[in-house]
Amino acid sequence: MVTQMKEIVKAEEGEVFDIELEADLLKANKKLAKENKELLRKHGVAAIDIMGSIGAGKTSLIEKLVQLLKGKYRIAAFKGDLTTTIDAELIARHGVEVVPINTGKECHLDANLVRKALQKIDLNNLDLLFIENVGNLICPAEFPLGSEKRAVVISVTEGPYMVMKHPFIFMDADVAVINKVDLAQAMKVNVKKLETDVERINPNAKVAVTNCRSGEGVDKVVEALDL
């Protein structure tokens, strides 16, 4: 049987046509974050995002958490920064493996960078992974990394409005940490008000008040993270 090929249908010159795309621009990161999560879960590793403002005490918090928990869990950490490995070294001196992630110019970690870092550690011998993000209360909220829980750290030295000014990152948080409580009086910052700000925005978020230098309150963070 001879089949007849019909003439190629082409748009005529000047013809206008619509293409439905439904192209999700955030899909790539979401997909990688999901893959990271699955990989971590497969190896029984709980990953916890530590996000927060610049200088809030994220690294100090991780240092104290590592000191408290390294007898109970096998721990590693990823430390995101634009440049330098200063913070990564601070964490590593407590005897845990740290992968520094230098983002170059990017102001937040993304799932791709975390995926690369996951390839550098032995997930078979790990229980707990802290992922410290770049100091930033805005962008990290939009870039899931594949963690089980997200903690956000702010400190009283940033003034009284940090929670109110950044509702979205707190809406994304499982735990909020208000650090440097020892300086609250000097800063004339009402810590209770900051706590209620978090509760108002996200009633599900647990709040811990800390002095990560002395370690005061870090046990409450451990409790809040179910560790």
């Binding site: 206008v16 046509f17 293409i19 795309l21 439904e22 955030l26 409005y161 108002r200 925005i201 996200n202």
Partner: protein, 123 residues
Amino acid sequence: MHEFSMTTQIVNYVLEEAKKHNAKRVDMVHLIIGKLTFLGLEQVKFAYEMLVKNTIMEGSKLHIEEKDGVVRCSNCGYEGDLKYEDDPVYHVSSPTLNCPKCGGTVNIMGGKECTIKSIRLVA
């Protein structure tokens, strides 16, 4: 916050699609941007004007459809916009995860989109 890099992604994507269809020109790009994303619409439009210069997208209309935030309450089944509450001390309104109907806690179901819905090409 990342309007420029996001818009670069958009322009590149559209140019790829236009190339696939051998289009001579792009007339219109229909974007959907959720209100809970961190994209400033003015900056997206500004970046767009700059990035399409000297491409087949120059002169095209950027139509941005804004989507409201959508939350769902697992307690009472409410589905709709977020509840905004006033701070009692500073009288500033902020979004919350409280259910507007029953006060329970909601999950965010929508409003975080950044999607190229469709494009209009000229052959």
